[in-house]
């Protein structure tokens, strides 16, 4: 058929994605053919190298922007910045796992390619300008995470976590697809641009758009599950607690970050329908901030505490998304970066304390850590301060930007809730610090620090400090990254 032309495909725009996914596939085969059992660390180093190459390959794309694959995939500075954040998250999650997996006798070479596939899914989500592409990205990420959650084979808790996540995640995916179908039925488009064009054709009248609104609500349910917004957060503590700690670390920053990034794009596309969309987001954000932080208060298990705290942080990030059209997107990017580094660092300390056969997640195990491992205790204190939003850390700057952007965007009452819940959050974060520095050890826990872990904690700690002390260069970078994000 002559009339069909090959659609222009600009492969440059998806260089990082191609490298990550291609490298992951190749690494899978390299691992199973050439890497002997017991030396699977080689695979891990190769995976980190692949992520680094993908990151470097992204640098020349900074001045490039455009869309390809019939407009279903876009590259702009926003997606590129997110890509880098995701690559860092993936590389750090691999670094902490290098020694964790053999120590717990659950080492399988597949861990590293799977993390890379997950990063590929996240990049796809950040770049997608189309609901179908977005869904495929979510699924690629989710399927990988279902596997990784159940990775610690002999631990029943890990299997249970994988099972829970799979069943609930499948439901959420069902809602998401149903929502896409309804939106397509109403607007005739799955691309965000097409939906925005449909909404822009006349003033928004909710009573005439029920089909679209039902679809949008269902899509939001799918998002809320992935981000773990409050009424859809129930799975989070159980899954984080059951899954291997590096996976929990990756999930806490990865799924959340990618899903929030995609939600930001969707929110921008639904600009015309914001009288409907924003109040829902506001309620979700308020509930998430309040219940996430209150839930963390009662936890004596640090892994569960971090799970609840990550729920609470999603609420703060949601504020940035709601005012994305103004300065919220910048605050969002900065917060994601700060949160990713801080949270990965905190999980890194948790991993250092974890022994084979027994988990040192109880808050009492942190008692007197300063006397045994002063540097580790200082690092943990830094991460806790950052998560609590105490200056001069990255977390403080992130919260500052988010709250000012939200306040300028007219979300005063949400900012008030945010500040109040941050005060609550400070209590349970600082409790850990107090335990570490001012109490005697309750029992002997010998942290095992290995090279990968040391590097990870060092990188995360230094970055947390730098972002807090000298945020200007990053802020400038972030600001510049949003020139192209017109919606």
């Amino acid at each position: 058929m002559e009339s069909l032309q090959i659609p222009p495909v600009d492969l440059r725009l998806l260089t990082p994605l191609l490298i990550v996914v291609g490298w992951a596939g190749a690494l899978l085969l390299i691992d199973v053919f050439f890497v002997p059992d017991g030396r699977k660390k080689i695979t891990g180093y190769l995976a980190i190298a692949g992520l680094a190459v993908a990151g470097l390959a992204g640098i020349p794309l900074w001045n490039l922007s455009g869309s390809t694959f019939s407009g279903m995939l876009v590259l702009d500075r926003y997606s590129l910045a997110l890509t880098w954040i995701f690559l860092i998250a993936g590389a750090l999650s691999i670094a902490v796992a290098l020694d964790y997996l053999p120590r717990h006798a659950i080492e399988q070479g597949e861990y590293y390619p799977l993390i890379m596939f997950a990063v590929g899914g996240m990049i796809l989500m950040a770049q997608s300008a189309d609901l179908i592409t977005l869904f495929l990205g979510i699924e690629l990420l989710s399927i990988t995470l279902y596997i990784l959650t159940g990775f610690a084979y002999p631990r029943v808790a890990s299997e249970e976590a994988g099972m829970k996540y799979l069943v609930l995640g499948a439901f959420a995916a069902g809602f998401f697809v149903y929502g896409i179908a309804l939106i397509f039925g109403a607007t005739g488009a799955t691309s965000l641009a097409g939906i925005a064009a449909y909404l822009g054709r006349q003033p928004f009248a909710p009573q005439e758009e029920t089909l679209f609104l039902a679809g949008a609500s269902l899509v939001l349910i799918g998002f809320s599950f992935k981000i773990a917004l409050v009424p859809f957060h129930m799975w989070t503590p159980d899954v984080y607690e059951g899954s291997p700690t590096p996976v929990a670390a990756f999930m806490s920053v990865g799924t959340k970050g990618a899903a929030l990034a995609a939600l930001l794009r969707v929110t921008l596309a639904l600009e015309e329908a914001q009288t409907f969309w924003l109040p829902i987001l506001a309620v979700l954000a308020a509930a998430t901030m309040i219940l996430g932080n209150l839930g963390a208060l009662g936890q004596s298990n640090l892994k569960r505490m971090l799970a609840y705290s990550s729920i609470g942080h999603a609420g703060y990030i949601l504020l940035g998304i709601m005012v994305a059209a103004e300065r919220g997107a910048e605050a969002f990017l900065f917060y994601i970066l700060a949160y990713t580094l801080t949270n990965l660092g905190a999980f890194g300390v948790l991993i250092a304390l974890e022994q084979r056969g027994e988990a040192a997640w109880s808050i009492d195990d942190f008692a007197g850590l300063y006397q045994r491992r002063p540097l580790l205790a200082v690092a943990m204190a830094l991460f806790m301060f950052s998560l609590a939003g105490v200056p001069p850390t990255a977390g403080f700057m992130g919260k500052f930007f988010i709250f000012t952007a939200a306040y300028a965007g007219g979300l005063g009452w949400l900012v008030l809730i945010g500040v109040l819940t941050s005060a609550i959050a400070a209590y349970y974060y600082l409790r850990v610090v107090v335990k570490m520095f001012m109490q005697e050890p309750v029992r002997e826990v010998r942290p095992e620090l290995t090279r990968g872990l040391n590097t990870e904690i060092l990188i995360a700690g230094v970055a947390t400090l730098i972002l807090g002390l000298l945020p200007t260069p990053i802020v400038l970078l972030v600001e510049r990254s949003l020139v192209a994000l017109g919606g």
């Binding site: 659609p7 179908i132 607007t187 641009a193 029920t210 089909l211």
Partner: protein, 222 residues
């Protein structure tokens, strides 16, 4: 003609709903799986009635052909088929209350839509740039390669990851399990036992039936 189709639709719908109800009420899980297959068939027939031939083929190929096999195998793997002795963590009124609230919320989202949406109005004109609506299988094939090339390939990656996941989670390492001989190895072993080297094996001892007991890998290599 229209009434005939409506009657057929009614029959198929009754089959689907009836089978679906049986799936969740029958105590025996294998019976539930068989009812599920009937339900899948009904959905396939419904697709045919809607003149969606390809979907009907996919329905039969994937759901009736593959998914049902998967479900049956999964049942064969489980120990307790009848469901007795299974402890339910949340039961009684709390379960029903949760189910009722969820169903109610979903109904709140869907029912007004179904009622208030003007269904018979032709679809709004698609914004420029959207692909043309698809009709047949050939168009679908073209769309996979042209408009949806990216999705097509990502679907391939997705399937591969699913395969890896199946192996990572369900597959036991060879070292951890015992192994049965392949036919060629069995043949080899029988030949060796029939003509034993003079010193090691005394004559007259009957050759063991190779299939009867699993022989571990170490023994085969001797």
């Amino acid at each position: 003609m229209a009434t005939v189709i409506q009657i057929i639709f009614g029959l198929i719908a009754a089959l689907i709903v009836g089978a679906a109800v049986m799936v969740v009420t029958v105590r025996n899980v294998i019976h539930a799986a068989l009812w599920l297959i009937a339900c899948f068939f009904g959905v396939g027939a419904l697709y045919l009635l809607l003149e969606a031939e390809f979907l009907a083929v996919v329905q039969v190929l994937v759901y009736v052909g593959a998914i049902s096999i998967l479900i049956l195998f999964a049942i064969m793997l489980t120990r307790q088929v009848t469901g007795e002795g299974v402890r339910q963590l949340v039961g009684g009124w709390r379960l029903w209350l949760t189910a009722a609230i969820s169903a109610l919320l979903f109904a709140v989202a869907i029912v007004p839509t179904v009622i208030s949406h003007s269904w018979n109005v032709p679809a709004p004109p698609a914004p420029p740039g959207t692909p043309e609506p698809l009709a047949g299988v050939a168009e679908l094939g073209r769309a996979f390669v042209y408009e949806f090339l990216l999705q097509f390939q990502v679907a391939g990656v997705l399937l591969t990851v699913a395969l890896i996941g199946a192996i990572v989670i369900a597959f036991e390492e060879r070292a951890r399990r015992r192994r049965v001989l392949t036919l060629a190895e069995e043949h080899e072993l029988r030949k060796r036992l029939a003509h034993p080297p003079p010193v090691e094996a005394p004559a007259g001892e009957p050759a063991p039936a190779p299939r009867a007991t699993p022989i571990s890998e170490g023994e085969v290599q001797q």
